[in-house]
Amino acid sequence: MSTVRIPPTLRAETQGAASVEASGETVRDLLDDLTGRFPALRERIYPEGELARFVNVYVEGEDVRTREGLDTEVSDSSMVILLPAMAGGG
């Protein structure tokens, strides 16, 4: 199982969980597994199996869009980070 970090702005969609375990060999598998269990999250960031443009996914610190996208491989020990921009500064 890989660990997926959920950003604070998407935790309403994961019932408050800050990180969630998910299984699979690629980022796509992980997102399928994860959003299958949290349908509200699917709607937000992974509608129709496409990753929403406003969210970055990092595997081992690398943006998957600079690697193989959703086909980027993950391992059991992978730390996967979902990261949208945050604007707060005040």
Partner: protein, 379 residues
């Protein structure tokens, strides 16, 4: 003469027909030294002194700050064959107290040398670095949660000119984290309140205020104010995308910070050397997923951590030292930082410049200001 007394006082040293050798560091030498002295840092004595003073019978008086290093180095001089080497007690401090002449390469006056003494002691900063800071101009977007600690630390550090862009007024709900402002300043413009606090902290700093919100109409005027660096502590996406585009076109590095609840992000956008904000986040989240701190809340100390990290990045860029977080995004989770750990939980994710970026890419498609509110609302 190794068995005899190896020290003399400054009065006798001044009268003696001997070569004074200053064994302190380069930085200390630059701040002040005795006229006519030879400077050979302690660590280089063995290697350089024989070359500089070939005559081993020449009388030598070593000195340092207070007389301890200059005493400890004597056996080294003996080993090199110098026949008459002696240390000056009390060092240059005692010399100065007697009112004897001092030379200085410093352009910092006595007050500044005192105020910034902890910087002058660091070899990577030193007198040159401090002068550089005093000549640096940094523009802060926002004098709120992030802007407060950045502004205070940059002003304390002696950044010579600080600009503040903020059209807001101080509200009591700000004071849980915006440490630039105080209860006495409620209702005052934040830019003015900031100027008062920064000037009180350090009168060396010139504070330039812009009591306006950054817009496509004023951004060119504000960014052409001679700024070397920008520290972004804005509180909304339209301002952040506007600032990004403008800073790429004006070629000014931006130290970016953002916060929400317990989590913060820090990175440096240096135009054309690393990614820009649009390379990192081509699109903002939809508005319902982009609550501000006013809507979602923020732990009071979080902007203190993130704003201080921004000040740290700004100082590194201003001084040209260390590894600025260009292309690296630092993520901080206040809840993950355990008290027993000394290191805060800082994680890095790498940011690449996107050659297809519409602003800083190889073939930019956005070359003038757009409607940033529409853009951020997905219109």
């Amino acid at each position: 003469m190794s068995a005899t007394v190896r020290e003399i006082g400054p009065r006798e040293a001044r009268e003696a027909d001997a070569l004074l050798v200053d064994v302190r560091s380069d930085e200390e030498w630059k701040v002040s030294h005795i006229p006519g002295a030879l400077h050979v840092p302690m660590s280089q004595v063995e290697e350089r002194l024989p070359e500089l003073v070939p005559d081993r019978s020449r009388s030598i008086i070593t000195y340092c700050a207070v007389g301890s290093r200059s005493y400890r180095i004597l056996p080294t001089l003996d080993g090199l064959g110098y026949e008459d080497a002696i240390s000056m007690t009390g060092g240059i401090v005692a010399w100065r107290e007697l009112g004897f002449p001092i030379d200085s390469e410093s352009r910092l006056d006595e007050d500044k040398r005192e105020r910034y003494s902890r910087h002058l002691l660091i070899p990577e900063v030193g007198e040159d670095g401090q002068r550089r800071l005093l000549e640096t101009s940094i523009l802060l977007i926002g004098a709120g949660g992030l802007g407060s600690p950045s502004a205070l630390y940059l002003a304390a550090a002696g950044v010579g000119r600080i600009g503040i862009v903020d059209d807001d007024v101080v509200d009591s709900s700000n004071l849980q984290r915006q440490v630039l402002h105080s209860t006495a300043g409620l209702g005052e413009r934040k830019a003015r309140s900031a100027r008062r606090a920064l000037t009180a902290l350090n009168p060396d700093v010139e504070v330039v205020t812009y009591e306006e919100r950054l817009t496509s109409q004023n951004v060119d005027r504000i960014l052409t104010g001679g700024w070397d660096l920008i520290v972004d502590g804005a509180d909304n996406f339209p301002t952040r995308y506007l600032l990004n585009d403008a800073s790429v076109w004006h070629n000014i590095p931006v130290v970016h910070g953002s916060i929400f609840r317990f989590e913060g992000q820090v990175t440096v956008f240096k135009p054309h050397e690393g990614p820009c904000y649009r390379c990192l986040f081509p699109q903002p989240p939809p508005p319902e997923l982009a609550p501000s701190c006013a809507e979602g809340g923020v732990l009071g100390v979080l902007p203190g951590v993130i704003g201080s990290l921004q000040a740290n990045e700004a100082l590194k860029l201003a001084l040209g030292i260390g590894e600025p977080a260009i292309g690296r995004l630092l993520l901080f989770d206040a809840l993950g930082a355990k008290l027993e750990e000394v290191r805060a939980k800082l994680e890095e994710v790498r940011v690449r410049r996107d050659p297809d970026c519409p602003v800083c890419g190889d073939n930019p498609t956005i070359t003038e200001y757009i409607d940033y509110v529409d853009f951020c609302e997905g219109r």
